[in-house]
């Protein structure tokens, strides 16, 4: 399963955005002058409620969704992303996809087109999607037994059901989602396979086991001997048949190996990563403070560091979505 790789599940959801419009109260978001002098219904028949497309409303709701503490211009005191309320997702992102990018006409060769009688004045088709889609992509831990998407859906529903409703209610068929299980079913319906996940928790690479190399060599030898034997004993067409069959087996073998997921990298789940960041930062503080200590003082200070920071224990640790030790 390409979506599952090295102990992480790479969830890619493409949810069609509802094509209908929604009547929203025509009330300015931030009050001000418009509240003091409301629009008269005889001047605008939509004065009470304005029709808006779900795509428009979704874009507005996403713009208002809180993000993590991602850049130095984020407010360190402000509330964090709702995705920081669980310890399963490493990254989560929403993107509205209106359609495929248009790259213009497919270029041709003037001489070839002339010879084939192609008329450059005839318009080429332009691709489009049947609706706008909301992309929801999340990298999540998948170490616990069972369906990782189901576990994630439960975690999301119990921590940010309100935000999920705000966002996903602009998508087709979300109305029936009422708990973690129905959310998981809905996500699965909209899921597409992640064919190129990016996982960098094996910094030094995994040593490939030697077995496949031996198997491949043996396979190659069998194919070569088989081809020659078939050619000598039966005829050239049999040799060709055996060669094609051998090539197909080799191809299937490679695909089969490629489809297996990479083994789980040690300590690559979110709580471990957060703990590692916590230790990195507190150890730097320790190293700065310990400069110039004599041996006894250094020993005492390191003992204090171990006792306070507990490198082997899950806590204390850094909060998700918010760098820095508090």
């Amino acid at each position: 399963v390409p979506s599952l790789d090295a102990g992480h599940y790479f969830l890619t959801v493409l949810a069609p955005i509802r094509p209908d419009t929604q009547a929203v109260p025509a009330r300015p978001a931030r009050g001000g002058a418009a509240t003091a002098a409301p629009m008269r219904a005889d001047l605008d028949p939509n004065a009470a409620t304005a029709p808006r497309s779900h795509r428009q409303l979704l874009a507005q709701d996403l713009a208002l969704l809180r993000t993590g503490y991602q850049t130095s211009s984020s407010d360190p005191e402000g509330p964090s992303s709702p995705f920081a309320h669980n310890t399963l997702n490493h990254l989560a992102r929403f993107v509205i996809i209106d359609g495929p990018p248009y790259n213009g006409r497919i270029p041709g060769d003037t001489i070839v087109d002339t010879l084939l009688g192609r008329d450059p004045l005839i318009a080429q088709p332009v691709d489009s999607l049947n609706s706008a889609y909301l992309l929801f992509a999340a990298d999540i831990d998948a170490r616990a037994p069972g369906d990782p998407v189901a576990a994630y859906a439960e975690a999301l529903w119990s921590t940010m059901a309100r935000e999920l409703r705000v966002v996903f209610s602009h998508c087709v068929d979300f109305g029936r989602v009422s708990d973690g299980a129905s959310l998981a079913a809905w996500l699965r319906r909209c899921e597409v396979e992640t064919t190129m996940p990016f996982n960098d928790y094996w910094p030094d690479m995994l040593q490939a086991p030697p077995a496949p190399k031996v198997q491949a060599l043996a396979l190659l030898a069998v194919a070569a001997v088989g081809t020659v034997a078939a050619g000598v004993m039966v005829g050239w067409w049999a040799a060709a048949l055996v060669l094609v069959a051998a090539l197909w087996v080799a191809y299937a073998f490679v695909l089969n190996r490629g489809a297996r997921s990479y083994p789980t990298a040690p300590t690559s789940d979110l709580p471990s990563v957060l703990k590692a960041l916590y230790i990195k930062e507190t150890f730097t503080q320790f190293a700065i403070a310990a400069q110039g200590d004599d041996e006894a003082a250094l020993h005492a200070r390191f003992g204090d560091f171990l006792a306070r920071r507990q490198p082997g224990a899950p806590t204390p640790t850094q909060a998700p979505g918010r760098p820095g030790v508090t």
Binding site: S72, A287, Q291
Partner: protein, 542 residues
């Protein structure tokens, strides 16, 4: 060798005037209220603009010297608003790069001009006036570089030329304003800067290349094709040019940078013409310039270095207080305060020995006529100061990865193939700056007037400032900023890697900000031809 029309290029791009006998630099800024008067103002100044032509060497057909060294070197530049004020066409104005149109103040977040460096605290000339007063932004920068009398005071021509400029302003009947507002209270009508002086026995006062923290400044500047004559170019390219791919050979790997990295209208290191605006004839032989007034908090710097050196001495095993302090100074910058790079002398005692071996250099520099052997010795000294690379020091044991000069000019250190034998500047050669400028000391405030020339403010100046001075990822330093000029909002530490394996590194922490921005802007420094077009009102963008 590239042939440049040196008579069309402004002289401040080509020469550091401070080293050519002009230790004084006065900066005047003007506002233009009406295009016609502005063009007349430019036209009046145009004949006196100093070009890049060599002085006292070019000889005409009649044998007379064509270009004499002037008593005052005068140069001029325009902000984007200034080019709009003299009436450039919309197409020329809108095609300028975004950052030039924005101006320096609007780029504060990118440049790290935050907190005590934020534009709201800049000198009044760079800020909008209090409500109700007319806003007169900076349009024109005019620089007067002057020589000194034997007692180290500026030559009288400086005051005379300033008076002449005031006369031009008066004649404009209020359409051209000499903008006051320099200094903390905005009391000064212009910004003066000058070299710091030193009394040399038997010679009198001599200008030094020291800035206020005590470091020798302006040592390693990039050199471009056509900047110097062939012989001088070969010497200056070592350390000042680019490093070729392939095995490193100090004698053969260095070559001058393409002219288009600094002067517009000529091919650059990307084998393209730099993008500036239209028409090409207006852009050619011009350059962009950064002007920044940087306050140096000398007291805070010295105090912090003293505090840190006490711990550093213990960690690094240096019993001598002076050695610990001077070594820490050197680690922060990458050069000893004498200017000798850590890459040439990694320890205090090696630096002392080296300075003894080269003790004849200061006297040689002052000598008016030198023998070829003496010139060769000066060239060797110059190679020692600038002709190094970082392939010999990948871990920063000699020169810390986050040191000021390694950030400003990483040379070959970002080459993925970097080793003891390999290393090129392919990834860094498009991010060089020609630095100009002198220290200032006015109203009890010390600092430097920093000027830098480049073809792209965005690719060169802003990148160096944002990614290399105010961030540390390229130097394996995380969020750490430059220990000398960096902001401390996201990190206040600086790592000095240990010399030998298993030695203890030193981490300076709790560093305050030492250098604050007091104002500045981005300027276009036009060619003499472009100045003529501005004056005539004939910039045709088609």
């Amino acid at each position: 060798m590239a042939h440049l029309d040196l008579a069309d290029i402004q002289g401040n791009i080509q020469r550091p005037y401070g080293r050519y006998g002009f230790p004084y630099n006065r900066h005047l800024f003007f506002n233009i209220a009406e295009p016609e008067t502005g063009r007349l103002f430019v036209d009046a100044i145009r004949p006196f603009v100093t070009t890049a032509e060599p002085w006292d060497s070019a000889v005409g057909q009649d044998g007379a010297v064509l270009v004499h060294k002037p008593p005052i070197a005068l140069n001029i530049g325009f902000t984007w608003a200034g080019l709009a004020a003299v009436g450039l066409p919309t197409r020329t104005l809108r095609l300028f790069p975004d950052e030039f149109i924005d101006g320096m103040g609007a780029r504060a977040e990118i440049l790290g001009d935050l907190g005590s460096s934020a534009p709201r605290g800049w000198d009044p000339i760079w800020r909008p006036p209090p409500p109700g007063e007319p806003h007169k932004p900076v349009h024109v920068w005019l620089s007067l570089n002057a020589g000194a009398l034997p007692d180290s005071s500026p030559r009288p021509e400086l005051a005379a030329m300033t008076g002449w400029l005031e006369g031009l302003v008066e004649a404009s009947r209020g359409k051209v304003t000499l903008l006051p507002g320099h200094g903390p209270g905005g009391q000064n009508r212009w910004q003066d800067s000058s070299a710091r002086w030193e009394e040399a026995p038997g010679v009198g006062y001599v200008p030094t290349a020291k800035e206020h923290f005590g470091f020798t400044d302006g040592i390693s500047d990039p050199i471009f094709l056509g900047q110097y004559a062939v012989a001088a170019e070969t010497v200056a390219a070592v350390g000042g040019g680019k490093i070729a791919e392939g095995p490193y050979d100090p004698a053969r790997s260095w070559a001058p940078l393409e002219t288009g990295e600094f002067i517009l209208g000529l091919p650059d290191e990307g084998q393209e013409l730099p993008v500036a605006t239209m028409p090409a004839g207006f852009v050619a032989n011009g350059s962009f310039m950064v002007w920044r007034k940087l306050r140096e908090d000398v007291e805070a710097f010295e105090q912090a270095m003293k505090t840190q050196a006490a711990v550093y001495g213990r960690v690094a095993g240096m019993a001598d207080e002076t050695e610990a302090l001077e070594t820490l100074y050197a680690k922060v910058v990458g050069r000893w305060r004498s200017g000798v790079p850590l890459m040439a002398a990694p320890t205090w005692s090696e630096q002392t020995t080296l300075l003894e071996q080269w003790s004849d250099i200061p006297a040689l520099r002052l000598k008016p006529a030198r023998t070829p052997a003496e010139n060769a010795r000066l060239d060797d000294w110059s190679r020692l100061l600038t002709g190094f690379r970082y392939g010999d020091d990948p871990g920063g044991a000699r020169c810390p990865l986050g040191a000021h000069i390694r950030r400003g000019n990483p040379r070959d250190m970002l080459d993925p193939k970097l080793s003891a034998t390999l290393g090129s500047s392919t990834l860094t050669k498009r991010r060089r700056l020609i630095r100009r400028g002198l220290p200032y000391e006015t109203d009890g405030e010390k600092g430097v007037i920093f000027m830098a020339h480049c073809a792209s403010l965005f690719r060169q100046f802003e990148f160096i400032q944002q990614q290399w001075m105010q961030y540390g990822l390229d130097f394996e330093s995380g969020n750490d900023t430059c220990p000398l000029v960096g902001s401390r909002r996201d990190s206040d530490k600086f790592v000095v890697p240990a010399g030998a394996a298993n030695d203890t590194p030193f981490i300076a922490s709790g560093l305050p900000r030492f250098v604050d921005t007091r104002g500045g802007d981005y300027f276009f420094v036009p060619s003499l031809s472009a100045l003529r077009q501005i004056a005539m009102g004939t910039v045709d963008p088609t």
